[in-house]
Amino acid sequence: MARSPLKGVEDSRPGGFACMSDPKQPPHGDGAEREALSALDDGKTTRREFVGTAVVGGALLATGLLSLPANAKGSAKAPGLEGPPVAPVPLRLQINGKEHALEVEPRVTLLDALRENLGLTGSKKGCDLGQCGACTVLVEGRRVNSCLTLAVMQQGKQITTIEGLAQGDALHPMQQSFLAHDGFQCGYCTPGQIMSAVGFSREPWGQTDADIREGMCGNICRCGAYPHIVAAVRDGRGKKA
């Protein structure tokens, strides 16, 4: 994984909400947006790999926003795990109000446990290094990057993923708002954006658009859907579920 340091400098490239200097407008992705909103990912590896590497990885790499981790291309079975397998440990995770028992190695991140072990593929893997926000979930009601915490460390905590937002067929107000304002294009970053926006709604911030851009700065959208996302968050914030 010889990456050029020049490409790896996440610090010195423009992007994110607070700059919004490069709003590209590629055509709408067909279907992926629906997937992001309802998290009805059917779990087909081919599609996930396509979205994961070809769209997000490729495009963000091209714009210099992210460096692609070696494992993004790796096997879907054990992402990021190298060397001989180690004995898994039994875990219990409280996700979307249900307890899940699973067995994973201590080095498995919360994101990988959700996606690979529990089939909850709504949370997306973009950078896998805390830089893009695609993996955002709520832990005890607070938004965090699930790629930078180990599953074993989150036992006993209440975890909410995009799959846990809707009540039956009724979408969460923030999901409704993203739909109403067209707050997505390819939809890959959208679950993370929505989870981040829900967490943000509970934080002590101001109400201005500048606050919204700053408050959402941890979520990067390669499609540049920012103006619509800002509108969606502004609208969705007032309607807490």
Binding site: P5, G16, G83
Partner: protein, 328 residues
């Protein structure tokens, strides 16, 4: 990520014992936002993680007019604490200028102080780096060093310390409380981080197996006039090119006392006694702010791509002094 063992500790004593039993290959984990990141790219490879999140170190207490801040207090909680907002605005501003809301919800005080440099050569194991692998050379010295330090550098390493919070702690005369196999000790914040010299792999005075338990802040006379300003390549969610934390006490228009620290430009959080000397006893005006900024950057040693940082840091300091004095 390589295979690891994991254990959760429930009190400081237990954590210290577990760490002491594996001094060479264990590491405590707080928020994990720096450690897990570096483990994924093989820069840090501990074989045993000791989860310290169960230790009773997540409280902020008022002590003798100052604050005692547990090492496990999350960055967002510290930034939004009413006493921090009221008495140490510079600390709140520095925390909120760092990382993203998601990361700040995880990041702990101890982990933030100990976070490693973002030098791209340090983070790429295919590149030489004296900090990661002593004696292997330095890719940044003649390479792409736009993000690197201009103060406190050595012939072995020019990496910038990336922490925003630490710049405020340096300006606020913080004390770091440490617990280890030999008992407890305290370290003045200014003495906690080390200059790279010929041993850039040694970054702090923390010994293997020791834990940061608390940070304490003395009562501050600067509450009304302390500010943090961070300049970066985009408006948010980027590391500092240059930043400054200042606190001043005014007597009429005269500066009675001052604290100045710089970030983004130093190999450690950079307190500048020279700038403080240039301010104390002088009128709070642009002439003297400029003199202080010149004094702060006097020893700067820029490399090929980061010379702009010298002027940027000067202007950042002048600007934040004007903000603190209520002149901007």
């Amino acid at each position: 990520m390589r295979p690891i063992d994991y254990t959760a500790a429930h009190d400081v004593k237990g954590a210290l014992q577990t760490l002491a039993a594996r001094p060479l290959d264990s590491a405590p984990i707080g928020g994990g936002t720096n450690l897990v990141d570096l483990m994924k790219i093989h820069v840090q490879n501990p074989a045993l993680l000791v989860d310290i999140n169960g230790l009773p170190l997540a409280e902020i207490q008022e002590v003798e007019g100052g604050l005692r801040i547990g090492a496990l207090v999350r960055n967002s909680d510290l930034a939004n604490h009413p006493l921090v907002r009221e008495r140490y605005p510079v600390l709140s501003e520095a925390l909120l200028a760092g990382a993203s809301p998601q990361l700040r919800n995880m990041a702990t005080v101890g982990g933030n102080i100990l976070q490693r440099t973002r030098c791209a050569y340090f983070r790429d194991i295919s590149q030489p780096c004296n900090k990661r692998e002593p004696g292997s050379g330095c890719g940044a010295m003649e390479g792409f060093n736009r993000m690197h330090a201009v103060l406190g550098t050595s012939a072995q390493c020019i990496a910038a310390n990336p922490s925003d919070m630490s710049v405020a702690l340096a300006a606020l005369d913080a004390t770091v409380h440490v617990s280890g196999p030999q008992g407890e000790r305290t370290v003045a914040f200014g003495d906690f981080h080390l200059l790279p010299g010929s041993t850039p792999e040694r970054e702090t005075v923390l010994r293997p197996g020791e834990l940061i338990t608390h940070v304490s802040l003395p009562a501050s006379r600067f509450a009304a006039r302390s500010r943090y300003l961070k300049v970066r390549d985009r408006a948010s969610y980027a590391f500092a090119l240059a930043s400054a934390a200042v606190a001043i006490e005014l007597d009429g228009k005269t500066i009675k006392d001052a604290r100045v620290a710089l970030g983004g430009v130093g190999t450690k959080p950079w307190r500048s006694a020279e700038a403080e000397k240039a301010l104390i006893g002088q009128p709070a005006d642009e002439v003297h702010f400029k003199a202080a900024a010149a004094a702060a950057l006097k020893g700067a040693k820029p490399r090929a791509h980061n010379a702009f940082k010298v002027e940027l840091a000067r202007r950042t300091l002048v600007r934040v002094l004007a903000l603190a004095a209520g002149l901007a």
